[in-house]
Amino acid sequence: MIGTIAKPMEEIMPYLEGKDNLMVIGCNGCAKAIHSGGEAEVNQMVAELEKRGKKVIAAGAPERTCYIQHTRAFLEPLQQELNDCGAIVVMGCGGAVQIVRQATEEKHLLKHIVSSLNSIGHFDTVVPGTEFVEQCMECGDCMLNMTGSICPVTKCAKGLLNGPCGGSQNGKCEVNPDRDCAWVLIYNRLKALGELDKMQQYQPPKDNSKITRPRRAVYNEKTGTALA
């Protein structure tokens, strides 16, 4: 899922200055899972905006706001509110914000869209409802088969590909001693698997052309695959 965290209200409010009759759109996908933009947080946001003197004329959370069809379906019965609203506060990832923008543009509406969350990474849920960690940064050139299914690109603070830096100590990272050194984790696992030869192999630099942004995938019916 995409990890998100609330921006302070002090950062959001200036973007809403002079705008009223607001709409608040959360996301019942990732943002719900990480407690930043599901129904519950949307309701809190509505109350907060009303406390600050704003009128909210519609609010809710599509199933997954980053899927255009869910957002279209959510907005379908809200045509009047869409026309009337002064701004739309989106409580989803940066993708959700832009899908909401697209959905309004499809309706030939030019609306102020205000993002209320910061997107902080591709997160995996390791303790349901409680703990989420970044383990993959979508480098486009996966090397997990060489590293015992532990990603050094993401889990090493320096993204090193050929082993630990000199700052690794007692299995911890120089950047944050509470964090494990990814390369010691990799070493321990490859050793247990009897595959230390994989760590001994030279890993060439990443092909960063594979992450030239923005990336795009288009499903091809003939081949049955979504090609990037």
């Binding site: 603070a157 320096k158 993204g159 090193l160 590909l161 050929n162 082993g163 630990p164 830096c165 000199g166 700052g167 690794s168 100590q169 007692n170 299995g171 120089e174 950047v175 944050n176 390369w183 010691v184 070493y187 230390l196 760590m199 001994q200 030279y202 890993q203 060439p204 630099p205 990443k206 960063n208």
Partner: protein, 289 residues
């Protein structure tokens, strides 16, 4: 002169280092370097050391070269992508710099611009391999160069790291990638170095032991807590703590001399990091080497 030539001659190589200034006034750096003239074989020039922004190591290396020193240009992967790394290596060659120490680089988190984007487009192994390729006449993309550098390439290792084996695996990769000598993190305990060198000597590359001048017990305790792989023994901490401030410099030099004498048989040279007490280096070298 390339350090590799000195190692080949069987010389016990002594290097030290200077840190470029934060600003454009190089007089202090050059004055510090003067203490090292005729004393050491080469002077390392640190590259935004500890991720603190300073005058560039390439420019400072060039200035030292002009003043008759043999610089070791330190180059980290933290601040440059592969274009900049290779471009700086070519620039160094054109400026007559012959020795390059290739490092990963401390994370920006530790420095004075923690908001900076850390680059690490290459790691130190990839940097070494690329530097060697440049010396062979090709860039990292396989393009042929018009004129090529001829460097002696160095790499670093942390002999006190725990666990040590992952560091040794990486060290071997660095040597295969082109490292011709190895410089270590600060050593205070010869037993730690001995344990390391027993495993690393089979790599067949000269190892230069890192010697940091211990300036106070507080500094020692700080390093023990914050610098990976550094272990200043309690006995040294006590020796320093019991001394009045004016006696510490003398003691610091004596500790370094004793350490170098103990390490001498196990290594091909020493790299003395004086951390401002550069005036002590001539005395240490004449007493220990």
């Amino acid at each position: 002169m390339k350090l590799s030539s000195l190692f080949a001659q069987g010389k016990f190589v002594v290097t030290s280092e200077v840190g470029p200034p934060k600003g454009t006034d190089v007089s202090g750096m050059l004055a510090e370097a003067e203490h090292l003239k005729g004393v050491v074989d080469a002077v390392n020039v640190t590259d935004n050391q500890s991720a603190v922004m300073r005058l560039g190591s390439l420019t400072a290396s060039h200035l030292l070269k002009q003043k008759g020193f043999e610089p070791v240009f330190q180059l980290t992967c933290r601040d440059r992508n592969r274009l900049a790394l290779q471009s700086d290596l070519l620039s160094a060659a054109v400026l007559g710099i012959e020795n390059v120490l290739c490092l990963t680089g401390d994370h920006v988190h530790a420095g004075d611009h923690p908001q900076a984007k850390p680059v690490y487009d290459f790691d130190s192994v990839q940097l070494l391999r690329t530097a060697r390729e440049l010396c062979n006449g090709f860039d990292a993309a396989g393009n042929q160069l018009d004129g090529k550098p001829d460097f002696c390439l160095g790499a670093v290792v942390n002999p006190g790291a725990d666990p040590l084996e992952p560091q040794l695996i990486k060290l071997e990769k660095k040597i295969k990638a082109g490292a011709q000598f190895i410089q270590t993190q600060a050593v205070f305990d010869p037993a730690v170095f001995e344990k390391f060198i027993k495993q690393a000597s089979s790599f067949g590359v000269p190892v230069v032991a890192g010697i940091v001048l211990l300036k106070s017990a507080g500094m020692g305790r700080y390093m023990n807590e914050n610098v990976s792989g550094v272990n200043v023994p309690d006995s040294l901490l006590r020796e320093m703590a019991d001394l009045p401030a004016e006696k510490r410099k003398e003691k610091s030099a004596a500790i370094a001399v004793k350490l170098i004498k103990e390490l001498k048989q196990m290594c091909a040279g020493v790299h003395i990091m004086p951390l401002g007490w550069t005036d002590l280096v001539p005395g240490i070298v004449s007493a220990a080497v």
